[in-house]
Symmetry: C2
């Protein structure tokens, strides 16, 4: 084999999510955007904050292009890093340091870089199923292992007994994602505290750090619910963030890694992250969008649309007989498939021009992920198709 077999595998399986998305795109070209109900991908379909657009115009009008579009420092422009640190400290009363912020091309890059920085062959990362499928790809491509633990079936929260048993001397990282993709579940302060206690206990037992990596691209999409900031609860923590969802900038690839100021050898961890970024071919995040973020940090797209979508869709799905856990945050509904084979269910849904993702690749079969980050108009138009789908499976309407 003159290629890497593993990489070929990743390319061939491709992302199931992206494949469905691509199919939906084709279908849109055939029958029109308005007739395809594509809930497959986390591509925000609401506009960014208008200040983002205004800032782009201002930048191209006022900054010489060779400065605007030139390289920044690898870990990010110092002024942007400072703006992020200031915002975090003001918002979460934490002690973020701009010297421990590494600006990345989105959360995927941030995760891939963080894993590359920490993981040696046979190291282990523990996460909780269902989980974002590419976690496995990022971890395994460093030759380490992803251990996905079952969660409590009624709320998809960590099962601490299972976690305690799973942690072992090879455990380098515990990876959480709250608000969660795909379930929409938010970890409460109590959950984070319990997690922190257990990790501290295990760190003492093994005499080496176990890092808590918190992937938070949906942090602000919590519809009023509190999302605890992990650096308050656990020293060896790293926050992964992206502006993809908060500012509907998924295609511009901008986010960051924050190493907690209290982490063991924080500066060395940061240096290693810089090295890993370099090794993976990341030179800097978009210089123009770094300037945009510097100006727009703290702003968000209008999430009231998502909230309306969630309520509309959740209520309808429950009413027509589907099961799903109420999603506190993010913009996904994790719905139980009415038949055991969620892939077959997704295939059938296509007959009604409904596109969503079977949960198999999320490590938790029997469900589908429905991304409601679309226009409310699309949600409203899709309800009838969902009813037809429910009828096809003879689900009983709750009356």
């Amino acid at each position: 084999m003159f290629l890497s077999k593993r990489m070929l595998g990743y390319g061939q399986e491709s992302s199931v999510i992206r494949e469905i998305f691509e199919y939906g795109l084709k279908r849109k070209q055939q029958i029109g955007d308005e007739n395809v109900f594509d809930f497959s991908i986390g591509n925000p379909n609401i506009p960014t904050h208008k200040q983002v657009t205004e800032k782009i115009k201002e930048l191209v009008n006022t900054i010489p292009p060779e400065k605007l579009h030139g390289y920044t420092s690898g870990p990010g422009a110092p002024t942007t890093k400072k703006a992020i640190a200031n915002y975090l400290n003001k918002t979460f009363s934490c002690d973020a340091k701009s010297d421990l912020i590494y600006i990345t091309s989105g959360a995927a890059a941030a995760l891939a870089i963080t894993f590359k920085a920490f993981l040696n062959e046979d190291d282990e990362v523990i996460t909780f199923a269902p989980f974002f499928p590419d976690y496995k790809v990022f971890v395994e491509s460093t030759n380490a292992k992803l251990i996905a633990l079952k969660t409590q079936p009624e709320n998809f929260l960590p099962d601490f007994d299972l976690l305690e048993k799973a942690i072992n001397p090879k455990t380098k990282i515990v990876l959480i994602n709250s608000p969660n993709n795909p379930t929409g579940v938010i970890y409460s302060e109590k959950t984070i505290q319990k997690l922190a206690e257990l990790l501290k206990k295990k760190e003492n037992e093994y005499g080496h750090p176990i890092f808590l990596v918190s992937d938070e691209p949906y942090r602000e999409i919590s519809y009023g619910k509190d999302v605890p900031f992990v650096t308050h609860y656990y020293k060896n923590s790293i926050v992964i963030y992206s502006f993809s969802k908060s500012l509907s900038l998924a295609g511009e690839r901008i986010g960051y890694i924050l190493v907690s100021t209290k982490a063991k050898n924080a500066d060395m961890v940061y240096k290693t992250i810089c090295g890993a970024g370099r090794a993976l071919g990341y030179v800097c995040a978009s210089s123009m969008f770094q300037r945009v973020i510097e100006d727009c940090i703290g702003l968000t797209s209008d999430f009231s649309i998502y909230e309306k979508n969630r309520n509309l869709l959740y209520e309808h799905l429950i009413k027509i007989g589907f099961n799903c856990v109420y999603p506190d945050g993010a913009f996904y509904l994790f719905m139980e498939s009415p038949i055991a084979d969620a892939e077959e269910f997704c295939e059938k849904a296509r007959d009604f021009e409904l596109y969503f993702v079977p949960s198999n690749s999320f490590g938790h079969p029997g469900f589908v992920r429905i991304g409601y980050c679309v226009s409310t108009d699309q949600i409203e138009k899709s309800l009838d198709s969902f009813t037809k789908l429910a009828n096809y499976y003879q689900l009983s309407e709750i009356t």
Copy 2:
């Protein structure tokens, strides 16, 4: 060690180039931009083509932001890929296929992804010294080896005897870079033909493909000289391209990988590249800049400025007694250090506010790289400092 030692190493050594660049930035803040002659980095200091700026304005004014800034397909927007293929076919009379073009976040990403796609542990990549330092980082972080061969001292072209001896059954890739960073040398058609013949011979000998990877971010910066397009000469070839230099967009991270249509199992190679991109955390290149490229492909910044800079600086350096090979392309002068220790020479140059990079990290000690991608005004102002530097080393003026 709870971190990857290798990544920590990459982070600590950091890029020598970037460190000098950062130092230059600080110095500019202290004594003013106009008094610091920073030739350390390949950061184009000439504006992008004005159509790029116009296109950005048009895009933000006419495309709904949720479409403009949303995800594209991982390998790139189909329309952008098509535009690139059309441009290549028109310009180089080749048979590029858009299905074999993978749009990347610049050339560094393209190289890291390509190596990740091909290389297994202990595989070998051969390149020619001096070479861009991060080649080594990208290759080694896949656990493969970079073999850097000495070149002919009078012109920095490959020594084919050395190459023939170096190729062995572990050789997966031969990596070239023309116009070359740091020497400015362009490989002629004859050189590419000779290289292709040797590789074909070795492929037959070993019964497996050896890929020619051609890193071409300076393709258009050739001041009228021909740069042969490798897919014409060798089947198993891959072209790495970036718009960083051609359109002065280094900070926006956009480029591509082209797999030759004639390559063995081209589709499979492409799929593996897609898998490697995914594994390294690349989701898509900037969606907005993909649209910009679709519109602006074929345009370039005004390279007459670089040509003027090259002539001014080269003539002055030769006149005051420095040695360097005449650079055909790119925007670098590779100048011999008047003392054996090029690092010490660079340190001394800083006393005259001249910042350039010692060649040690390029795998060819005793030289410095001078990037003349700055304004002509800066070049003119710097000449006096170069003269002082020459005088310090008592170089004799050629009269």
